[in-house]
Amino acid sequence: MLSIRSISRSFKGHQALKDVTFDVRDGLMTGFVGANGAGKTTAMRIILGVLSPDAGEVLVDGRPVTADDRAQFGYMPEERGLYPKMKVHEQLVYLGRLHGVSSARAAARADELLEQLGLTERRDDKLESLSLGNQQRAQIAAALVHEPTALVLDEPFSGLDPMAVETTLGVLRDVARTGAPVLFSSHQLDLVERLCDSLVILAHGQVRAAGTREQIRAAHTRPEWLLETDDAGFVRGIPGIEVIDFDGGHVRFAADSDAHADRVLREALERGTVRSFAPSIRPLTEIFQEVVR
């Protein structure tokens, strides 16, 4: 598990991170969301040791991270970077070797990744001759070639077409399945909502929400339900219930507890036919906009 503990960092008077604390748990895909300039990239660079924090620390399985640990991390920086004039397979092997993998194993692993990412035919082409989407895939392969024990990816899906998103996702899930913690940042909230087991929402250098989707929802919304029946007007009269939205037979209400909601259902059944009764799930985008404000 990767733990970020009370990290602060400022640049020339501007505080980029303020007392940031969160965990990236083993085997889970953790989404890192926040507006531009929220401090995601700074936090990722600090995890990788490319930047040092002014205060706070990064822990691995509960003890301070070492350079040896970091050498085993896989990293995809925000601004993409590989050697433009070097062949794809060759630079994957080079990066693998820098991470301490033998040439032979790096070569085998690079071929495997290129195959998974659909780049096998471009194996011996120079990076600069690849399309941007393919360069992006090569970049993902570069983060994975040394079989990382943890993955930190800055916007891995930006610039990928839907097909490529799925392929990449498959590869990342494989890594998570091995038990490695995976942290990736993204602007695409719908994507994060679909992909991530867990979320960290950052705004103005501070963590505004962290946890699983369900935990975040629970923490940031009162539970709401949707009821469709013949005439839902009676709901207003039930104590402990706040009607949010009402339109004839359709009502959305917040309840103080599940028991209160159950009372609404019972009453509705007594009064007529219940066509539908379900908890109303707010999309994360809504919560996101609320918490980053």
């Binding site: 083993d26 990788l48 640990d69 970091r70 820098l98 495997e112 570069a142 024990t149």
Partner: protein, 382 residues
Amino acid sequence: MTTTAPSRPGPSGRADASVANDRGRTRFAQAAGIVAQREIMMQLRSKAFIISTLITLALVFGAVLFSSFGPALFDEDTEVATTSEIAPTLEAIDGLAVVPTDDADAVRDAVRDGSVDAGVIAGDGPSGLTVVGDREADSGLIQLLSVTPDVELLDPNAPDPLLTYFIGLAFGLVFFMSAMTFGQTIAQSVVEEKQSRIVEIMLATVPARAILAGKVIGNSVLAFGQIALIAAVTLIGGALTGSQLLLDGLGMPIVWFVVLFTVGFIMLAALYAAAAALVSRAEDLGSATSPLIFLVMIPYFLVIVFNNNPLALQIMSYVPFSAPVAVPMRVYLQTTEWWEPYLSLGVLVLFTVLVIGVAARIYERSLLKTGSMVKWRDALKA
């Protein structure tokens, strides 16, 4: 997590998926080696590098051959028309091709129509000969026919000033060109990594100093290789043409040049890498490296100006930037004590170690700074 992790698929077969494992980091020397290997490989694969090296070697070889055969090509006998009475006298002199003619007028005609270089006819002067020329008499011929006073040479083996000049020029030029070429190469490679941001991935796994060491070693090996090839071609060319100058006089200076150049280049390479780390874009390289170009050009110009000034050369031989050129010149001119080149080498090595320390500091601090050029002073500040 360590015990409950599912086994890792793929070629690794590593079941332990804990974030921490025992694989550890690449050792410094190993990381530097991998970086150096890439630098060398990329250059050796570059057509421009191979072709320019071959052209340089061809030029050097040509120059060596020319220096021994060249003068002979222009050293033809002077054709002299003369009358039959004087012909035997002239034929006894080396360097003259005698063309006998009927009389003095025929000699004048031959000179006038250009079929001979000059003419000699009987005259009234003390030598009894008159040299006939078109507009000017052939001075070489006049010298051959004159009575020369005795000459006493105090230092018959002293180096020829013109030759000294050319040898100085050659050392200066080779130093200047190699340092510039490989200095620019290392600078470009640093900025390429900075611009493409791959340096961020590298820094996450190996220390900045290992990257710097790898780059300096890789490019120094290449520069040393090229200089050693040039030296070898010069010496082989000298041996083939039997040039005593090269074999006797220039052997040791060339060896000293290669040794000092190699150390001096390591120093320059570190400086070039540091300078390149200050900028984020290849377009800004020029302004960052221009102070270094001066450093490289100084010995080149100084050796041309001062190749015959022992004091200036002595001072230059203890200044790290000019030592690689000045020391071989002094060895060639035999104006050094035997230990002086070693002292120069020592000074150069010490200075290089210092420079590498400073350069590593600048490199480390500037590598992740993007945007406008970082100032040298800011990069050094704590």
